[in-house]
Symmetry: C2
Subunit: 273 residues, 2 copies
């Protein structure tokens, strides 16, 4: 069933509402006019989610909501709005406008609409099942990648991998960089990296430890731009994937990426969770 | 001797000229209208440096020039302009507007003026000896940092440290994060991190392998904002420091940072280069 235009319009309004809350907190000195000892990022996160929930309660009262800050509201429609007001809180805190607001609409367990919104630089990627991904209204496409060696790999931080995942991640990095540190991975970026991949600026994003609210919105954005989202075994992402997320701009490189991650052990033995 | 106002004005015009060259290449697909098999970042880098050199040749013909792309021009005045058109080429290539153009004026071996310019977000930090650092014309100040634990540490990539430097870097990270990965370092950012530190959004930047053209511009920006720039032994930065660079927003934390880097061995034995 195609995504309803009024759901797309509402998703944009949710992102608008979150951005209006978040922008004044960005680069606001900690402690300035803040009560209750809460950091600007905490306040921006909570208040942006509240703003989105108010809209959803008013206009989609039967839909469920999964939010990072305020938890789960059960719905009756089989549809859920999955919200992460600030993905990339470290970047937000450090004054870097490469964090994002994530909004997904999940139907029968599958994300059919996703938004990655950068409210300071005012960049918004939207992906909708069956439609091309748009960045600020213009089509976004992943780029071709002729070989894994030379591909640009991105991840937020190597410290976020569980210990058992690190060798796999480093094997992927080595295959892509050919061992040259200056050609190594691009770090930082959180959800913003998936938008950049959708627009053809990055080739692979590799992460682990992501929650549903971290990755649901990314799937329609990346896939609507021609890329592939899967777990570290090449399977579709589910909550049971333990957040082992791959975004691959050129689906023709998927086997190379999986082989590099798992080496001679084969995919199935690659990680055990 | 105070920095001459016409040198400050010229430095701004150099940054303007570099930015005008760089912006059209940002997020331009590789290969599009590019000849001679050069990447957009290579062309932007070279052409931006050429634009700056043309201005300097015309207006400061006696000054020396040290550029990342076009090498050294000897001068006769004891003054050198140190240029790095795109510091952060990986971020540039990945479409992230957190790279920067670096411009320094060095007199008798010491940087007396520095600019960090982000041409896409149009953010410009300028530091001048004896004057407060400015971000887009408004004073920038580092922030107080009550304790190293909880401080935000930034560095571009852990893969850029030489093998012998890694344990020191990780010891600093552990001291700052208290061992919590989600509180770990902020990665990516190159010169942009030093601007963010000058504006009070980061507490420590720790890097190694930097060249003169990577760090000369950073010194006046950070110090004019109240921070401290030094090498990993707490000494002033020179070309002989082997590029072991520390920026510390709150100088009261300098001893803590040096102790964390070098542990029980003491500062002097901490690294041998």
């Amino acid at each position: 069933m195609p995504v309803r235009p009024d759901d797309i319009a509402l998703a944009h309004r949710l992102a608008d509402a979150a951005g209006a809350v978040i922008r004044p907190y960005f680069r606001r000195p900690a402690g300035l006019e803040l009560k209750e000892d809460r950091s600007p990022v905490t306040r921006a996160d909570r208040e942006a989610e509240e703003a989105m929930r108010r809209l959803l309660d008013a206009e989609r009262s039967g839909d469920g909501i999964v939010g990072e800050e305020h938890g789960v509201k059960e719905g009756v429609t089989g549809r859920q709005w999955v919200l992460d007001p600030i993905d990339g809180t470290r970047s937000f805190t450090a004054g870097r406008a490469i964090f994002g607001t994530l909004i997904a609409l999940v139907e029968d367990g599958w994300p059919i609409l996703g938004i990655i919104d950068q409210p300071v630089q005012r960049e918004r990627w939207i992906g909708v099942t069956g439609q091309p991904t748009l960045l600020n209204g213009a089509p976004a496409r992943t780029r071709a990648c002729a070989a894994l060696e030379g591909a640009i790999v991105a991840t937020t931080s190597p410290h976020l991998f569980a210990e058992g995942d690190v060798p796999h991640y480093l094997a992927l990095v080595a295959a892509a960089s050919g061992g040259a540190p200056r050609q190594g991975p691009v770090y930082g970026g959180d959800c913003y990296n998936y938008g950049l991949l959708a627009s053809g600026h990055l080739d692979v994003v590799c992460e682990s430890g992501l929650q549903l609210y971290d990755f649901a919105a990314l799937v329609p954005v990346v896939e609507g731009a021609g890329g592939r989202m899967c777990d570290w075994n090449g399977e579709p992402l589910t909550s049971a994937s333990a957040g082992h997320v791959l975004a691959i701009g050129d689906p023709a490189r998927a086997d190379d990426v999986l082989e590099a991650l798992h080496g001679a052990q084969g995919h199935e033995q690659g990680h055990e969770h």
